[in-house]
Every structure is written in C-alpha cells, then in structure tokens.
C-alpha cells in the first residue's frame, strides 16, 4: 500500500537530494494512472531500485521513459523505457532532509 524509501544519489537534485525520504504508493489504482512529471520508483537491472521522473508515457501506459535532472543521470536514455511490471510505486509524499 505505502512504502517509505530513502533516496541515494543526486540525479534528481536539487528537488530530491541524497538522504531525503519519499513515501510511495503501491496501490494499483494509482499505478494505472502514471502521468508525465510523476516521480516513480522502479526496479532496473543491474542498478536495483531506482527513482526517476516520468518524461513520457508510452505504449498506452505500459512503459515509461524516465529521466533524472542531473546531466550524468543514468536513466531511460541509457537503459530504455521502464516497463509497468518493473514499477514499484508512485511518489505521493516527499520528506526532504532539513537544510543546515
């Protein structure tokens, strides 16, 4: 239903930084309604669990082209679109690390 995940890496910075927490929903109702601009968490071999922003929804919602904000982000530009089966959750709450 809901999962808490900690962000590692900086590819979505400055909006999402290393150490931030995100809460994602795994409810199919929401996963069936992924839109451009959504932040999704998914499984991508060989990298493991990744978090990226959806840039395009392809194949009538069965695939997502995802990107990071960082120029050196590893995303769909390298590994191609993410399939719906690889989707873990959609971000619904961002808890940023407090600034010092």
């Amino acid at each position: 239903m809901l999962r808490v995940i900690k962000v590692t890496g900086e590819s979505l910075s400055p909006e999402y930084q290393e150490g931030d927490y995100v809460v994602v929903t795994t409810i199919p109702f929401f996963l069936n309604r992924i839109r451009v601009g959504d932040i999704i968490v998914f499984q991508q071999s060989p990298y493991g669990t990744m978090i990226k922003r959806v840039e395009q929804v392809l194949q009538e919602g069965k695939q997502y082209f995802v990107i990071g904000a960082h120029p050196q982000s590893v995303d769909s530009r390298q590994f191609g679109p993410v399939s719906k089966e690889a989707l873990i959750g959609k971000l619904i709450w961002h808890i940023p690390k407090p600034s010092k």
Partner: protein, 166 residues
C-alpha cells in the same frame, strides 16, 4: 520532526533505498572530493584552535563561530568517508585488490580516522585522515594507469596532496 522520526526508524530497521545516482555505469570516480573534504576537516580544526587562542568572552559570536566550524568539520569528515566508500565499493575490483592488497585495510583505517576526526578536535588525527586518503588516491590513480605527484595544496592548510600527473 517527521524527518527525524524516519531517520530513527531507518537506523533501527533500515528502509529500502532508491538510487537516483549515476556512479555505477557512468564510470566517473575521483578521490579528489574526499581529499578536499579531509583537508577541510584540518582547516576547521585550525580555525577552532585560532578562535580558542584569541581568548576573550565565550559570547554568542564565539559560540556561533565555533558551532559552525564543528558542523562543517562533521559534514566534511562524513563526506570524505562516503566518497571513499563509493569508490571502494563500486569501483575497486578484484584485479585492483590483487595489485594493492592493502586497500581494504587502508579503507578501514580511513573510516576510523574519519570517525575520530568527528569525535575530536585533534589536528594530528585530521592530518592522518588526509594522509590516508592521499594513499588511497595513489592506489586509485595507479589502477587507472595515471601517474601521481605530491604538491602542497595552494590554500590553507597547505598540506601535501596527491594529484594526478596528467
């Protein structure tokens, strides 16, 4: 408050991680970030000593400056440790270990010195932290087939640093 609550839970139970990083496939690794962070630790220890040596009242201005130095020292010691862990964990391969069998021990030493640099304001420890990371930098550049040179950092504290000789 929510963040602190989640941090506490994470320490106890460990939440899943989602990577937004690029270091695994892009191959961009460089120990210079760790070296600069460690040098910053020494600089903060020096600034703390200078402030202490000035004497005078331990007023708000003093407390403010000292707190900032300590915070930056903490942050950079941890940053240096994290940078080394990433290179060691993601980049160093069995063939590198074969050539440099001391790398595991050296990384462990860096972790210990980084922690001690956070716990104390001891300059010798902070300098040893820089030295150990310099040694790691030499190993790293050797795995890349890049020669290194040692030169004094062009800013305070002007400690000797390892640079790639490109």
């Amino acid at each position: 408050m929510i963040f602190e609550f989640l941090e506490a839970l994470d320490k106890r139970f460990g939440f899943e991680r989602a990577s937004a990083h690029c270091d695994i496939p892009c191959g961009i690794y460089d120990p210079s970030g760790a070296q600069i962070a460690a040098l910053t630790v020494v600089r903060m220890v020096d600034l703390m000593a200078e402030l202490e040596a000035k004497g005078g009242e331990k007023d708000k201005a003093y407390q403010n400056s000292m707190a900032r130095y300590v915070a930056v020292k903490e942050e950079h010691a941890e940053k240096a440790k994290a940078e080394i862990r990433v290179i060691w964990g993601d980049y160093i391969k069995p063939q590198h270990i074969e050539k440099h069998p001391n790398v595991h021990g050296l990384v462990h030493q860096i972790m210990m010195l980084g922690s001690k640099s956070r716990q104390t304001a001891d300059r010798d420890t902070a300098v040893q932290f820089v030295d150990a990371i310099n040694q790691f930098a030499e190993i790293f550049w050797d795995t890349k087939g890049v020669k290194t040179k040692r030169a004094k950092a062009p800013y305070s504290p002007a400690l000797e640093m390892v640079y790639p000789d490109l």
